[in-house]
Amino acid sequence: MLASDRRLGYALVAPTVIVLVVITGYPLAYNLWNSFHHYVVTSGQPATFNGLANYARLFHGQSFLPALENTAGFTVVSVVLETAIGLALALALNRPFRGRGAVRAAVFIPWAVPTVVSGMLWKSMFDPQQGFVNYVLRVLHLPGGHVTWLANTGTAWGAILVADAWRNTPFMAILLLAGLQVIPSEIYEAARIDGATAWQSFRRITLPMLKPALMVALIFRTLSAFLIYDVVYAMTSGGPGSSTDVLSYLDWRAFLVQSDFGYGGAVAVFLIIVCLAIAAAYVRAFRVETVR
């Protein structure tokens, strides 16, 4: 590349970089600063440096560790579930059949619904008296027609998982479908001639070639599952008790209910670090090669 080209390149990306620094970098830095201070905005007291005290509170307090456990558990289960269903959906939608375009579009509708809205929607669906879920169970004379879904820890998690999967599996499917579509059909034909069974060609051709798409999808899904907030907020508000509390919801309360910017900041920093670690772990695990 010529030096002048390089300079032009820098000049062209500069505005974006500046905007990113301002709107992402500043809050990050501010947050980090807060996390080392005692700072309750509504107290009217100025922030005072308190070292790692906020971080110590994370691990010695009552709510953080249970919420972390909930969040991690939800992340693992929902990502596994959504990846499996999303991959199955993508594989099905990648096969030619009559009306495929319409079906593809229909499958992706839930993803177009805002998360809070889908949370509210599912909350009403799981309503013990008026809810659609219990209605269907009762009509079909299936057990569970009178369960108060959101009032028990286990069933509340089940409901949250269903709502989250309903909204986000299509996203998984879109990304994986895009990944599947770039695999030339000739390669599958070559594999058939080489004697591969359907399973072998999935295992040896589809999965390895889907790696880049799978990695992107997994990073997106895992991070957003780890940061889950709106579905929980809309459906259970962390209840019953604090049995469905999650880190982002806890952090939201720290900031907006308790106005505790120091503690809230520490939780936020923890979330950021975990997210970076997750992304790095995926990139490492997949080790996508640049050569075709």
Binding site: A190, I193, A196, M209
Partner: protein, 384 residues
């Protein structure tokens, strides 16, 4: 090893398009059969049906004694080389070549040995750990060949395997593919639209047009004795000069525009069928090499105006025009056809040292004994 036999094989696609119409072909054990024809004539479709990638609408396909119509590709014991190679991009050269063996559950050592043998034959030893993305076009082509030969299949199928290579490499690989095929001895169906490949590689060549076999014969026979106008025009480069002529009433003279050629008694005797065309139109064909420059004693002569001269070193291609109607065969080089459509354009292949230049009026001696005749209505050749 086995022979392959296609009996009235037809393919009708889902959109009701009949891509292949009742094709009969017999490929003997060890034979190199080339399928050639213009784009869209159904070559790939035939190959894919033999491979088992495309369902056969009707007809019977046999490999050896087995009817294989309903067998999946893996049970047909065939290997195929795809036009774009279809290599597995995430596998190394060695893994690509060994994939079929692995799927067939051969032992690791055996796979490794066979892959080594194949890479040795193909000169790929140094690239065995590379991925396809790190190879040149020619090397990828070899890997695709390697994947086919390593399994020692009973039939080889190749769909324009050389079409993505540059001209020089293509000539080289042409010889290489022939050599490998002879060495392995498996019957081979080789698709190409390049008639040079067809002529040089095939034991026999099947010429296809619109899903029909026009003629299937040894290359030289196709060249010397085409069955119809299409084959005559398709085989040979530059293609045969085809003109509309008028047979004089007494059947002894051919009128070509304002010029005429006389037909000696021996030719009329050898081809009694010609008599029926007296006083009618007929199509005559002259290969470019059968139009040398006329000497003073030659009496069968066509005069043409030179448009263009192409010096190829070993020969001179003289593009000329006469005032007869050129016949546009549904074939060959469409660009070339378009360029000369309607005009009496022709090509002669002459001695490269002759001082011929555009604008010259040149007299070509016509080798009437090698002239070919076709019926204007049926386009069938008139040999008898």
């Amino acid at each position: 090893m086995a022979n392959v036999s296609l009996e009235r094989i037809t393919k009708i696609y889902n959109n009701d398009f009949e891509a292949v119409h009742q094709i009969d072909l017999e490929i003997a054990d060890g034979e190199f059969m080339v399928l050639v024809g213009p784009s869209g004539c159904g070559k790939t479709t035939v190959l894919r049906m033999v491979a088992g990638l495309e369902e056969i609408t009707s007809g019977i396909l046999r490999i050896g004694d087995r009817v294989v119509n309903n067998l999946s590709p893996k049970d047909r014991d065939i290997a195929m080389v795809f036009q774009n190679y279809a290599l597995y991009p995430h596998m190394t050269v060695g893994e690509n070549i060994g994939f079929g063996l692995k799927m067939r559950k051969l032992g690791k050592d055996e796979i490794q040995r066979k892959v080594r043998d194949a890479t040795a034959i193909l000169g790929l030893d140094d690239w065995i750990d590379r991925k396809p993305g790190q190879l040149s076009g020619g090397q990828r082509q070899r890997v695709a060949m390697g994947r086919a030969i390593v399994r020692d299949p009973s039939v080889f199928l190749m769909d324009e395997p050389l079409s993505n290579l540059d001209a020089k490499l293509r000539v080289h690989m042409r010889a290489e593919v022939s050599r490998i095929q002879r060495r392995l001895g498996a019957p081979t169906m080789y698709v190409t639209h390049d008639q040079t490949e067809a002529m040089t590689m095939g034991d026999r060549v099947a010429v296809l047009l619109s899903g029909n076999v026009q003629q299937c014969d040894a290359p030289q026979n196709l060249y010397d004795h085409p069955d119809n106008l299409f084959v005559a025009a398709f085989i040979g480069s530059p293609s045969m000069n085809l003109y509309e002529a008028h047979f004089a009433d007494d059947g002894t003279r051919l009128l070509l525009g304002s010029q005429s050629l006389s037909l000696p008694e021996r030719i009329r005797a050898a081809r009694p069928g010609l008599a029926a065309y007296s006083g009618r139109k007929i199509i005559i064909g002259l290969r470019p090499e059968h139009l040398p420059l006329a000497g003073p004693v030659d009496d069968q002569v066509l005069c043409g105006d030179v448009d263009l001269v192409e010096a190829l070193g070993s020969e001179l291609l003289v593009h000329f025009t006469i005032d007869a109607q050129r016949v546009r065969a549904e074939a060959a080089d469409e660009e070339e056809e378009d360029q000369f459509a309607g005009r009496g354009a022709g090509v002669a292949r002459v001695d490269p040292r002759l001082p011929i230049k555009p604008g010259d009026a040149v007299r070509f001696a016509v080798d009437v004994d090698r002239m070919q005749f076709f019926d204007p209505a049926t386009t069938k050749a008139i040999w008898a």
